[in-house]
Amino acid sequence: MRTYEVFLKKAGRDPFVHAGSLQAPDPAMAELMARESYVRRGEGEQMWLVDRAAIVVADADLLAPNADKPHRHNDGARVAEHRRAARGTT
């Protein structure tokens, strides 16, 4: 038996969302099983199944240094702050 991760997407602009996982002997069975385990109520119009062995799991240490780099932020917070100061409403 192999483990598959299930991703579902509704119609429209929302991305695929991870719905859960299941075990099955092969991709064809995984499709049939996932349909009954995760899409009984039409939770998605599209379904992707990914063999867990195909997933690359990154180390937390690889990502952690980038959590403390405010000079890279692009959400406009600093600009907004300057403009508030200029308006005199800090």
Binding site: L22, Q23, A24, P25, D26, A28, M29, L32, M33, R35, E36, S37, R40
Partner: protein, 236 residues
């Protein structure tokens, strides 16, 4: 010579009711979780088909109580279920093989109803056939893998096939002309898996679809009525 649409519809409705019940008895006790869910979903679909067929048979917009009575409370001789559907299958291999035999036949039985000349019935059949495509895919996938799995899985399925495949002919008692196609479809998968089964030449007569109940019917009928029997006048 084929029975009329009403006779075929009643036979199918009674089988769907029984099969829906049988599938439900595997909830929480199927071999693995995903199969548990699949069986329960398939059973729910079949009960939905039974409900729709009973509605069509009663005509108009029957009240729930009338549907329940019609489905569950007829005297045994008024049912038209096939003996395969009345049969208990406490062994998983039997349950799975019956699922495959029954759902292979079911597509042909819906085809017959779709061709019977009633637009409502044809619309019902079209909806049911969408479910059946999936049911058949599921059954075929499981049976094929187990026939080609281990010595044990093959032996167990072969034993179930030997016992149950001949009984599946009874699903065509009222529509014997469709039986050869059912047998051919089953043989197609079995040949692919190198399994041979002994099939009857023709469906039986004087069995379930003629109104004769098998000895196993009383038991499953009583279990289906067990909750309603606790308080027949309860409002649900």
């Amino acid at each position: 010579m084929t029975a009329g649409a009403r006779a075929l519809a009643l036979a199918l409705a009674d089988d769907e009711l029984l099969m829906g019940h049988h599938y439900s008895e595997w909830i929480c006790v199927a071999p693995f979780l995903e199969e548990d869910l699949a069986f329960c979903s398939i059973g729910q679909d079949e009960l939905g088909h039974a409900n729709a067929l009973y509605r069509w048979l009663l005509g108009g917009d029957p009240a729930t109580a009338d549907l329940d009575r019609y489905a569950l409370r007829r005297p045994p001789g008024e049912y038209r279920s096939a003996w395969l559907a009345e049969h208990p299958t406490p062994d998983w291999s039997d349950a799975l093989v019956r699922h495959w035999l029954y759902d292979t036949a079911e597509e042909l039985r819906w085809d017959a109803l779709a061709a019977a000349g009633d637009t409502d019935l044809a619309a019902l059949a079209a909806t049911a056939l969408r479910d059946e495509t999936y049911h058949r895919r599921h059954a075929q996938a499981m049976v094929e893998r187990l026939l080609q799995g281990t010595d044990e899985s093959r032996a167990r399925l072969e034993a179930s096939l030997a016992a149950l495949a001949p009984m599946s002919a009874g699903l065509f008692e009222l529509d014997p002309d469709r039986y050869p196609e059912h047998r051919a479809r089953c043989r197609s998968l079995l040949d692919h898996c190198d399994v041979s089964v002994s099939w009857p030449d023709a469906p039986p007569t004087g069995e379930g679809q003629s109104g004769v109940r098998s000895p196993q019917f009383a038991d499953v009928h009583a279990r289906m009525n067990a909750v309603l029997d606790l308080d027949p006048t309860a409002a649900w």
